[in-house]
Each structure stands twice: as C-alpha cells, then as structure tokens.
Symmetry: C2
Amino acid sequence: MPDRSRQTHGETRPATETHPTPALVMNRRLIRDKYREFRSQFPEATIYYALKANPHPGIVRLLQELDCHFEISSLGELELLSEMGVRSRRIISGNPVKERAFVERAHASGIDLFAFDSYPEIDKLEECAPGSRVTVRLAVPNDGSEWPLSKKFGVEPREAADLLLRAGERGLKPVGVTFHVGSQCTRPATWAVAIEKSKLVWRMAAERGLSLSLLNVGGGFPIEYLRPVPSTAEIAAVVRRSVAEAFPEGVELAIAPGRALVGEAGVLAATVIARAERDSRPWFYLDVGVFNGLMESVGGIRYRMLTDRGGPAVRCVLAGPSCDSFDVIAMEAELPDLQVGDGVRIMSAGAYTTAYASQFDGFQIPAVHYTE
Amino acid sequence: MPDRSRQTHGETRPATETHPTPALVMNRRLIRDKYREFRSQFPEATIYYALKANPHPGIVRLLQELDCHFEISSLGELELLSEMGVRSRRIISGNPVKERAFVERAHASGIDLFAFDSYPEIDKLEECAPGSRVTVRLAVPNDGSEWPLSKKFGVEPREAADLLLRAGERGLKPVGVTFHVGSQCTRPATWAVAIEKSKLVWRMAAERGLSLSLLNVGGGFPIEYLRPVPSTAEIAAVVRRSVAEAFPEGVELAIAPGRALVGEAGVLAATVIARAERDSRPWFYLDVGVFNGLMESVGGIRYRMLTDRGGPAVRCVLAGPSCDSFDVIAMEAELPDLQVGDGVRIMSAGAYTTAYASQFDGFQIPAVHYTE
C-alpha cells in the first residue's frame, strides 16, 4: 500500500484536477468496456444494472445507449428512469419488500417482473400488480463476500416453492428464482453453490406441476480496491458451467451487477483540508468523509489513494471533514506526509459513494463529472 | 420496552397522521420549553445551538426568535444561516478542522470566534481570519457518553497552552478553551472532570502571561430514548458548581447543545411496508431505515416506538426499506405483531435523523412538519 499510495495515475489526473473537490470523475470508456466484458462473458444473459450503486443520470444515459436493462427498488428510482425515457420492459423490480405505491406505479407503467419472498408480498402484488411475473428470492450462502446479505432477504428452497405455487394460485405468473451471493464476493464457488440450490426449487416446483424458466444470479461481482479479485471471466466461467450442469434443459439467465459495472470507473478527487498530530500520529482530514461519500469505509472498504506528494509513507489516520467522531475513513493508513491543500485521488470510487452521501454538517455531496 | 411499545401518545398522533410517511413532526412548544430550560439552568451562559443536529429552517427560525446563538462547521451551514438572516455575531465556528474557503467566508461575514487544535490551523486562521478570537479544543475523558469523541479532536493541557500562545504570536486573540464530553453523555461527573482539566490550561497560560476568559463546555446533554437520563438541571448543577470552584475569579461560559434542544421534540412517523417470517421470527420493514433517517441505530440508539396495533409484544427484527443488508434498524426488538400498512411513531427522533439522511436506493428523506 505505501508504494501504491505514492504512485500517480496520469490518465485520470487531468480530469480530476479541473474540478473543485470533492468531485467524482467517472470515466465513460471504463464503464463501456466493463459492460462489454459482461456482455461477452454472459452472452445469453440479460444484464440488469443495479441502479442503487450509482443512480447518476449520466450513467443511466450511457448504459441506456449500450442497451443495458435496469434493476430498481423504489418509486424514486422508477421516477428517475421514467424521466430519462427508459422503457419499462427494460426494468425489473429486485427488492423482495416493496412499498405499495411503488408496486402500483411500476405495474401501471408496464413493469412486469417483481422479486418477492413472503406471503404478505403476494397479497400486495395480487392487488397492485395483478398477473405480473414473479421470482422468489432464495437465501444462499454468502461465503467470500464483504457484506453478507443472507439475513435480510431470502427463503429456503421448500418455502420458495411454496411461495411460487401460492403466487400462481393468486393469478401471478411464477417464473423462477433470484438470489444474491453478497456484495463484493471474491469466491466464485459461492455462485456455483447458489445455482445448485436454485435447482432444488426447480425440482420441488416441478413435482407440484409448476415449470420454472428464469434464474437471476444477481450481483456481487467484485472490483479491485487494494487487493486483486477474481476476474469477470473467472466468475462467468463458474456460473456458465454450473448453469449448464444444473439446467441441461436450458434456462433464461439474468445478472444484476451494480458495483462491478461502475465502481472502477470512478475517481473521487479530494483535498486535505487540515492536519493534526494526535498520539504521535498524523491525522489527515479530507473534504470528503463517511457522510458525504465514503460510507463504505465504515463497512471495511479501504480505498487505494494516490497523491503527488513525494517522500516516504507514514502511518496515519484519515478522517472526514465533519465534527462527528464516526467520520473516520481509516484508523490505520499509510500515505506520504500530506500537507493542507494536497490533492488525493481515491480510486475505484464509482459505486456506493455519492449514492450513500448526505449533506450532514453542511458538507457538500461530490459533484459528478465525466471523461471520455 | 414491550409495554412502552404498546403505549399511545395522544399528543403527537393527530399531527403525524395527517402527513404521508415517512415524516418528521417537530413540536415547537417542546423546543421552546427545552430552550427555556437551558436558559434558566445556565443563566450566565451563551447558548449555541449545534446546527448539525437538525439544520431544518423551521428550527433555525424558532431558535432565532428565542434569541439563541448557533455553532457551525461548514460553508453549507454558514450559507443556510446567512440566508435566514442570522447575524454573524450570533455564530461561532466549532469545528477544530475547517475548510479554507469556509474560514475566509466566515471571517468576511463577521464571525469572530473559531475553535482549533493544531498548528496548521493557526496558519490558516492567521491568513484567512486575521485577528480573530480563538479557543483551543481540549481532549477530555468521555466516560458515560454513547459516542466518545475524544480521539478525533482535542489536545492535552500543555499543548493547548502552547497552541494558544502561538496563536497569540500570530496576531490571533486566544481567549479560552472548548471541549466536548461526547454525544449523549449520561454521567454528569464527566463535565466536572473536563472543567477541572480546563483549569489546567488557564494556569499554564497564565504562567506564561496569557489570561483566558472563555470556557465552552460544549454539548453532549442526553435525551430520553428508552432509558431515563439525568435531567438538564442535574447536569447544570454539576457544571455550575465545578465552574464556580475552578474559576472563582469568574469565566465567560458557553454551552453548545444540539440533540438536547430538539431531539425529544421530534416524532418520526413511519409505515410498515412489508413483513416476512425469517428463522421463526417476524421481520417488519418500515419506510424509513438506516439510510433515510435512522443512521444512529447503527451506533446503538434504540428508539421508543409507538403503534396503535394491540396484542402482546413479539420478538422481532426491524429493518429499513432498501435492498441493503446494512439497513437493519434493530436485530432485537419487541413490538406488537405489526401488519403491512400499520403506522409506527418513532419517539425522540428530532436530532441526527433527517440530518444524516440520504436518498440511497431512491427512498425519500422524511419531510419535516411542525406542530405548535
């Protein structure tokens, strides 16, 4: 990390230095390349961008041009896509729990695929989106993922089959299974286990006369922060092989990457606004912190940071600008001995940064800019 | 908690039920009463509202009418107060680390008191706010506080005196000490210890010919969530006695409550949007969660929640509406067996709720309403 932190990255420097900080500079070419990589690695799959990762209009526009589909959770996300002219047949609702007003509006606008995993949600869908296609959210092991998602959503195969059958009795169209291996999952075998588990739902449903067709393997594809991660190709190979083995009769495949499509394309440009010595260690305070962009540092993400300041790396603490004690980016970092006014480029910051940001304590959310 | 969760609270019900949820309903009378309580318990102190707790314009307007002063950290907060016509001599800058542009603008607008705790900050203040009054931030024990703040800011007495003397050499006016016992501090003696420690800075400065006059004892005054807390009167008695003992010659006293002025005045009205059974336990999903209002639940705050649903309390999990696994309000809660559509009133939610909120995943930030 010390070596990397001193390294410069000529390609993105000019762009980030032309804007006042904090600023998130998104590289369109990197998003395009990443989309095409997913397109070629998952040739038969429909690709849904998980909008929550970064809902900035410029990203939506670019992915629209590339013919990408979208996965959303809320009325706010639906309104954004509607305003931008994304056709409803390119949108699915991926949140197993949904506000009633959202379901009504989504159905009225023509969205026809909803995930669910509970009986009350069947009542809601029957009433607000009658006749819609539905997938059940399956709980799967989240081994190797940075943030396991398994507790909040998902059911076991037996209940999944029960739910699908009940949905069918209520006039909905039960079409398949959706799962999520957890965010930033670095273990390809985890997808294989989840696909095997999905197959159980297929069998249990078939035994009761229900034929399924759609498998959404979700997101969780990792990006590189400080450590190397498995490539899209490696994970795709595991997914394709597992799907071929589990579903020799064929299956309609969907994927829903968020972080992986846009994360590495973003550089968050920040400035050191203050420094202090505390307990014999320098503290560097940036104009972006936990609340206005770096919320994922609380969850353990450590970003690669580049700066033009030379000299040996020092052990330091990196904090955000607010008065809040929670606003510490890293208690253990190694960076050159930064001075007030120095610029810092935070790499792989295109996902889950501005998306989580608030204006707490009056600090601005980074403006989003684009380079080709 | 089970008993309380079934209790209703007639006073706030009509107000919260007239607005679509999520909505934060602030009771002006409770804010006024609390301000007057602080006013009478700290008769000689200047009261600065820590704006970050809840910067909604309606609160600023009300506190302005009451003749309250304000403590701010950023350009955003300064702009808000300027737009609302708050005079600069009623505003101080409490953040020990500050953006240069903020210091310049604050000085230009007439703000004349800045906290600091590092040498680079002296350079900044000398250049951008020459001749200003400054207080040094002292590190003090945070025993009994919910969120200790001591690591991010503050210096020991010897360094505090050194910093004040250096500031004086640079043409700034070193006037005293500021400290913070930590947020939601339930141990009155912690203020006494901090005041004793402040006295050391007075002595060390005096030995070197510098006479100090201003003591800002900060915020940290607790409010009632689920458990009773010491009253303002109890804490004020300790503070007044400690100040009288430590500073028999008299001192200019300042306090900076945030949470305590507005927290108990706010009720966050929410709706159960979904429920599911997971691992034999009900999960209730509200339309407000960690990202759009209840961020402090991550830090351990457990709110009192009221509902009209009857029946025995059940052990349940309470989660927010987003797709995010981090968006869980409480893994262990006891509430009546709520159904989709039920209203929930989250009590003591006037501080650090909408202030931290973002629109992550497209969910709206609660609108703020007022009752008399």
